[in-house]
Structure formats: C-alpha cells, structure tokens
Amino acid sequence: MKVLSKKLFAFFMVLCMIAPMLMVPAFATDNTPHGGIPEECIAVSESEVMPLLNPLNSFETSESDQMVDDGISPHLSSTDRDMGVGIRSITIYPMGVNLETGELFVHPNVYKRIFYVNWSQFGGLNLSKSDTLSLMQQLASIISSGGDNYRLAGWCLVGAVEFHYRNPHYLLYQRRGTGLDPNAQPDTKREISAYSTESMQTLYLYPSNVNVLEDYYFVGVSGGCYYTTPSGNASDALFQYSATFNN
C-alpha cells in the first residue's frame, strides 16, 4: 500500500499553493450571485458531457433564492470507466458556539458555495474581505437576537467530492489551514466503495495568529485516493479543496 511520502507531500503542498491561483473561480472577478448552474447542464448523459468538460464554475450565495443543483448530476449515468476525483461543490458556513453548552452550529441560510461542473481534483472558494465580513455579520446578527450566550467561533467547511473509480481502496485526508501544523494533523483514512460520493465536513476554530477581519487565511482539506487502475496497476490521485478569506 502506498502512503503519502514526504516528497509527494511536498509536491502536493506546492499544488495546494498554486491551485487557487490557477483555478480562480468565476466569482473572483464578479461578485454578482449567478444563482446556480445553467439548466442545459442538468441531466444530460455522460457521452454528451465528456466533450464539454471545460472549466465552468457556478457560484451561489445565501442571498440567492433560486434552486440550484449541486453539480454532480450531469456527469455520470454509467460506470464503465474511471473518471477520477471530482470536486463537486464547496460550501463554507460561518460557525457559532454556545458558550454554555459548547455546541457548534451553523445557520443553513448563511453560507457561500461554489459548484463545479468541470472535473477537477482541486477547488478553491475564495472570499473577498467584504464577503468574509458580510458572512460573519450575517450570522452575528442572527445569534445576537438569540441571547447572550452565542459567539462566532470559526468556520464549517463542507466539500462534496466524487470518486469515480471501479477499484478504489481508500482515502487518506487531513485538515489544512492557517495556523494548523500540517505535521500535527491526524490522517483520516477510510475505505471507499466503487463510484462513491463523499461529503466531508470539517470544522475550524478561528486561527490565533491572524486578524480574521483583515488578514488572508484559509481552511481546507488535502488528501489522496488510492485505487487500482483497470489495467491492474496501483495508483493514486490527489485532491484538495479550500476556502480562503480576505482576498
């Protein structure tokens, strides 16, 4: 069984740093909510989609009332070949805490989300300074009216990732983030079945060493999927997704 070697890990970290620059989402230059994926992209067959795998991202904010798809549906009507790892959506919720009970909570209508209709192993949801502040203020406004026991505590990141392999073995992933020592993060390892979709939820308290209202910081997940190719070779595929703040 292969594991993440130091060399591979170093390469991966470089990718993590480069990926957000290469994969600037559509909203990075246009903060107008697009309100979902174009309808023509929904429920078409794989053979129709395959020639169309150009990068095309969709961005939704909690202000949008339009129903959106999570971006997985268009791709896979058959399971006869390996398509690899595909980030389908990334959602970031500001997270509150109940000081009395320790409960960590989110409000389902306060979030930013990006959908991917391209097939990519790397994804980034990059929030501007005003987006970051706006999300935090939205949650703060709601919890302030709920009593004096509630505060903002961090972020809840939800990544929906599709692993389209006939013979997958397992996933290995870790949390990443500003202020988190990558060498101190526990690996999460789990076996996966063929053609599965995983929804990964990770929670992050605010980092101590940055001004979360001003400084750039990020939260994310890095991992690898280990599988056997149709020709019988052992192989792996990396994936990474993150949310960045105060861009």
């Binding site: 919720y93 109940n98 320790g102 409960e103 960590l104 903002l152 053609y195 979709t197």
Partner: protein, 212 residues
C-alpha cells in the same frame, strides 16, 4: 497594540466585529478550553437552558435515547394524524419545528436530537464538549449510483437544510439519511454523525408514511 481585541483571563481572546458593541469573535486555545470545560460541567449537572426562538436547539453529546417502538397500527394512526396537520412535501420552518415537537412528544425523537435536525432553522454541527478543541469533522458517504437514481437527489442535489429542498421535509430527511458516516477526525464526531443519521432515518420513516 490591537484595541479591537479583548483578553479575559480564563476566557481567552475575543475580537470586536464591526456593527456590534461586544466582542463577538472568540479565538485561541484558552477560549476553546473554557467552552469545553463549561460545557462538560453543564452536561454533568444536566443543565437545562430555556430555548429562545432565535437560538439553536440543544444537543447533548452524552445523551442516550431509546426510540419508542410503535406497533403497525399505532404507527399508521400517528402518521395519519400528522398527515392531517402537515404536508411532508411542503413545510415552512415553523411547521417543520412543530412536527419535530410532535414527534418528541410521541417519543419518536428526543429533545436532544433536534439540533442536528435543523430545529428552529439552525443546524448543530458538533460540540466542543465532545470534539476537543475544534479538531472535528468527518466523512459522509453515499453510493454514487444510488444518488443518481434517487428522485430527490435528481431534483435537489445534496441537501443540507430544509431550505435546500424548498421546504420539502421528506426530501430533506431522505437525502440526509442517505449520507452514511464512515470516518471521523474524532470519535465524538463519528458518534454525533451516526446519531444524526439515525434521527433522520426515524424522521424520514414518519414523513414517508405521512405521504402515502
């Protein structure tokens, strides 16, 4: 010196948020330890909080609950009564909350399950009391082929709240129940996610019967 940050010994650091007159942004290991200790103490004391309409529901990670088993006739009677009051495919948040209240009263759900179910529009995602200092989270898995053949998924995609399904509580519960917890960064999160799936399965069973 950053005057937007306050420090209270034993409580830790907190930062002011523009537009608010008290420190809203809490951070640092000391703060996390403070909340964890207080939460653990409160649960040990069986602390009861009065739930404000704008507050997240309570969730007790140490809670254990034996779901009431209904006979076939009892279940049919209950779901018929509920069907007369609620439309599983079209609910407001208030109606959804009221349904959950009814199910607590009937012993189908327990009060401490309401937080993860989206009661009052909030979703509990974990607890510092069970997850240490925030190192929480995990993986929910679903077979892709199952997903693509699921009519609710085809319509709504993966849904994480009642608003994601436009008030279709049955779709919300069925989609959430599909997500099987498979691994957690902490054992506490995995337990939390397993309980949550069990809660959604119980809720989906009732809603499905109401629909018929």
């Amino acid at each position: 010196m950053d005057i937007s940050v306050s420090y209270t010994p034993g409580y830790g650091y907190a930062r002011y948020l523009p537009g608010f007159d008290k420190p809203m942004i809490c951070f640092g290991d000391e703060f996390a330890e403070f909340v964890k200790e207080r939460a653990t103490q409160n649960f040990a004391n069986k602390h009861e909080t009065v739930l404000s309409p704008n507050a997240p529901a309570t969730y007790n990670p140490m809670d254990s609950f034996d779901r009431r088993e209904l006979t076939k006739d009892e279940f049919a009677k209950l779901t018929a009564e509920l069907a007369a009051k609620y439309d599983p495919a079209n609910m407001t948040q208030e109606e959804y909350d009221s349904l959950l209240d009814d199910l607590v009263e009937e012993g189908i759900l327990c009060k401490n399950e309401l937080g993860p179910l989206g009661y009052h529009g909030w979703i509990i995602v974990g607890s510092l009391a069970e997850g240490g200092t925030g190192l929480s989270g995990g993986t929910l898995s679903v077979d892709t082929a199952t997903l693509h053949n699921n009519p609710f998924y085809q319509r709504y995609g993966l849904a994480f709240s009642l608003s994601d399904t436009d008030g279709n509580a049955l779709a919300y519960a069925k989609l959430m129940a599909l997500l099987t917890p498979t691994s957690g960064l902490t054992a506490g999160w995995l337990t939390f996610a397993e309980k949550r799936q069990s809660s959604f399965e119980a809720l989906a069973g009732v809603l499905e019967a109401m629909q018929k």
